[in-house]
């Protein structure tokens, strides 16, 4: 008998020169899913793990139960602030990506196309909550009003860098702003988020933790360890999966395997899970509010799959034109988060094209001004050396003898 088994290899939505095809995604209409009780059990979660929570329809109108659920949280004022957050994020990414190309810093990672998720989620958190981000969640910092000079200083690794040049650009850290030190390897933060949330429950404070992971890194062991431990101990943790379709050059199929959504993986662990249009700022606010209320209320962990698209390169070291069509971002069925929110606000008469252009110019100017100031403290092309002995500080609380000897050898 001849062997008939054949291996399957996932196909990306496109390759260079090939017309993008996103037909593997079924995009339901906006406004079709009801708002479940925050105590939703895993048995009732299947439609939310398989479907898609969306608020903005194709014309930019807010429709359906999740739009109503937003209430005042969806006010024009709040949405304009959200739009400004996203424009700010985009301006930061743009300016720092250029700075990297100018040789002023070694590396940069943009989050283009994914701004709504972090900008919106952070606005729903409270002081004392802690994110465990990946390298592409800088939008959480913008949504938390993290000082721009610290954010840019970290990327320039100069004396304005709160991390003293120790970390690769974008691997920010700020306890005060609820942003756990980013590792740079993948997946490890996810189970740490569970630990933080367990501590919050044990210490009986009011905080919650939010773990973040990309679709690619859901393949890592710690993704499964986190879902497992979250399902066992039921701490107040939100496990976010940012499904942006690409892991450098590998399409999402290499982590996703079959037809199940990432949210459906949560169901397998007994964790209520929902899937949300991550390019719809209103859906982001509504789902975040719902999930955060649930976690804080003691109803256990929740998984959110944010459906989005990585519109930029993986990093400044990556050139996506060699592995995917340049037309892919334009073909992405959920559009661009900035454009969609802008359209919605204009439709509501709460915004205009003129104001938008003005706002873009304003944030760019703000970023430029801060950037200039930070650059005056040194860049890679105009280095202002920091004391080498700093390398040896904070390895331990107190510097042990062998590090003292090494500091002497260093001559500082």
């Amino acid at each position: 008998m001849t062997q008939t088994a054949k291996l399957s290899f996932p196909h990306p939505p496109s390759r260079p020169g090939v017309t993008p095809d996103f037909s593997y995604l079924k995009i339901p209409k906006a406004g079709t899913l009801a708002v479940p009780d925050v105590k939703m059990s895993v048995e009732d979660a299947a439609p939310y793990a398989h479907g898609l929570i969306r608020v903005l329809d194709g014309k930019g109108k807010a429709v359906g139960p999740w739009a109503k659920y937003l209430g005042d949280t969806g006010s024009a004022e709040i949405l304009r602030r959200g739009l400004r957050d996203m424009l700010m994020m985009r301006a930061i990414d743009k300016r720092l990506q250029i700075a990297q190309r100018q040789g002023k810093t070694s590396f940069y990672i943009q989050c283009t196309g994914e701004e709504a998720i972090g900008c919106g989620f952070a606005r729903m958190l409270s002081k004392g909550d802690m994110n465990f981000p990946t390298y592409r969640q800088q939008s959480l910092l913008v949504g938390s009003d993290y000082p721009l000079e610290l954010m840019i200083g970290q990327v320039y690794s100069n004396s304005m860098d709160p991390l003293k040049g120790r970390q690769l650009p974008v691997l920010h850290s700020s306890r005060e702003y609820g942003y756990f030190t980013v590792s740079g390897n993948l997946g490890t933060q996810y189970v740490q988020a569970v630990g933080w949330a367990m501590a919050a429950a044990l210490m009986k404070d009011d905080g919650i933790a939010a773990g973040w992971i990309g679709d690619g890194a859901t393949a890592s062991n710690d993704f499964h360890g986190a879902l497992l431990t979250a399902s066992v101990y039921k701490p107040p943790v939100i496990l976010n999966v940012v499904n942006n379709q690409w892991a450098i050059s590998s399409c999402t199929g290499f982590a996703g395997g079959g037809k199940a959504t990432y949210a459906e993986r949560g169901l397998g662990y007994g964790i209520p899970s929902i899937r949300v249009d991550g390019n719809d700022y209103l859906a982001v606010l509504a789902a975040s509010k719902w999930a955060i209320d649930r976690a804080r209320g003691g109803d256990g962990p929740i998984l959110i799959e944010w459906l989005t698209y990585r519109a930029a390169a993986h990093s400044s070291s990556d050139d996506p034109s060699v592995y995917r069509s340049k037309r892919e971002a334009a073909a992405w069925p959920l559009g661009d988060p900035v454009e969609r929110l802008k359209t919605h606000l204009i439709l509501k008469d709460a915004w205009s094209q003129e104001r938008h252009v003005q706002a873009e110019a304003e944030v760019l100017d703000e970023v430029r001004t801060v950037q200039k100031e930070v650059e005056s403290h040194g860049t890679f092309v105009d280095p202002r050396p920091m004391p080498p002995a700093d390398i040896l500080r904070d390895v331990y609380a107190e510097m042990p003898e062998h590090l003292r000897r090494q500091r002497q050898q260093m001559g500082s």
């Binding site: 465990f132 691997l171 700020s174 490890t188 501590a199 986190a226 331990y396 609380a397 003898e401």
Partner: protein
């Protein structure tokens, strides 16, 4: 002072820290209700409740990863790897996360955790219940690595480790759990009751991290050892009558180089012992440091006695284990050189 086995001493340290510091939590596989496969946590869940002492799924990476998150939030987790051999799935969390949290966040987050694990052979555990992975940890900047050789030190060092603000790897030589090791596996097992270090105060005390102990003063040769090998060295020295100075390192990282160097400068000779495989073992580090600091005082090449560079065998355990005969031979070789 009450007599204690190593297991009782370790349990007593955790009991005291659970009592004194409500940030302390203790967990691991079979650690809660059952009290651990080696019984180190027996009775602690009953005494302190399951929010302080609990069982976990079989996922070492999650055990350590959760501890990192808890510690960052202000708790003091002391977790157990059921065997040191099982820590490998957690190595990412230990070496790239726990060890670096303080440094990479510029002190904004810290990682005061203790990871306990039974190490070494001597119980016919085969290749996955006998290994000594200490050199993998001492190679990681940001960790502290401790290995006691007796109940008194075990309790005092574990209390120090649990009070420390940096991550500590606490290696427990499982061959010593229930009694000191005479070096002769076929001889009669002896208990800790007869051993001077088998007594420890019932209450709180510390043995400082980073300080070695001269377990036998001597003049002719310095023996550097830790854990079970301290007992092997003592047995060998007793049998051959060589006036060796045996240094029980107790903490491998940070290393008490001062005590080592003072001794080697006095004796002019040095033998390094460990149970772990030889190549790139911790002995290589010890020899490098000793020769750099003591080269002009050395009368003979430094010799090391270690496990063979092969997986730890099951049936041939005692052919693998660096026992007293091999240690004696090395001592004689060093003295005759």
């Amino acid at each position: 002072m009450p007599s204690m086995t190593m297991i009782e001493a370790i349990r007593s340290a955790m009991d005291i820290m659970l009592e004194r510091d409500n940030r302390t939590v203790i967990y691991g596989e079979d650690v809660g209700y059952f009290g651990g496969v080696f019984r180190c946590t027996a009775g602690l869940q009953e005494k302190y409740g399951q929010e302080r002492v609990f069982d976990t799924p079989i996922n070492e990476s999650a055990i350590v990863g959760m501890a990192i998150g808890m510690a960052a939030h202000g708790m003091r987790p002391c977790v157990e790897m059921q065997f040191a051999d099982y820590m490998f799935p957690a190595f990412d969390q230990i070496s790239q996360e726990a060890a670096r949290i303080r440094h990479r966040s510029n002190g904004d987050f810290t990682c005061p955790i203790v990871i306990r694990m039974p190490t070494g052979g001597g119980i016919f555990g085969g290749q996955t219940h006998s290994q000594s992975p200490e050199a993998l940890f001492t190679h990681v900047a940001g960790l502290k690595v401790v290995q006691p050789s007796n109940p008194y030190d075990a309790k005092g060092l574990l209390i120090s480790a649990m009070e420390d603000t940096d991550p500590v790897i606490f290696l427990e030589p499982k061959r010593l759990y229930n009694g000191p090791f005479g070096g002769d596996h076929s001889g009669q097992a002896i208990g800790w009751k007869q051993h001077p270090k088998g007594k420890a105060p019932a209450g709180h005390y510390r043995v400082p991290l980073g300080k070695a102990n001269i377990s036998r003063p001597g003049n002719d040769v310095t023996v550097l050892a830790y854990g079970t090998m301290v007992h092997v060295a003592e047995a060998a020295v007793k049998a051959c009558g060589i006036d060796a100075e045996i240094i029980d390192l107790r903490t491998l990282l940070p290393l008490d180089l001062e005590t080592i160097v003072t001794s080697v400068k006095k004796t002019g000779r040095c033998v390094v012992l460990h149970e772990a495989t030889r190549t790139s073992g911790f002995g290589a580090e010890l020899i490098a440091e000793v020769q750099e600091a003591c080269f002009y005082h050395l009368e003979a090449p430094i010799v090391r006695v270690t496990g063979w560079d092969a997986p730890y065998p099951h049936a041939q355990e005692w052919d693998y284990f660096p026992g007293p005969e091999r240690v004696t031979k090395a001592l004689q070789q060093t003295l005759e050189a």
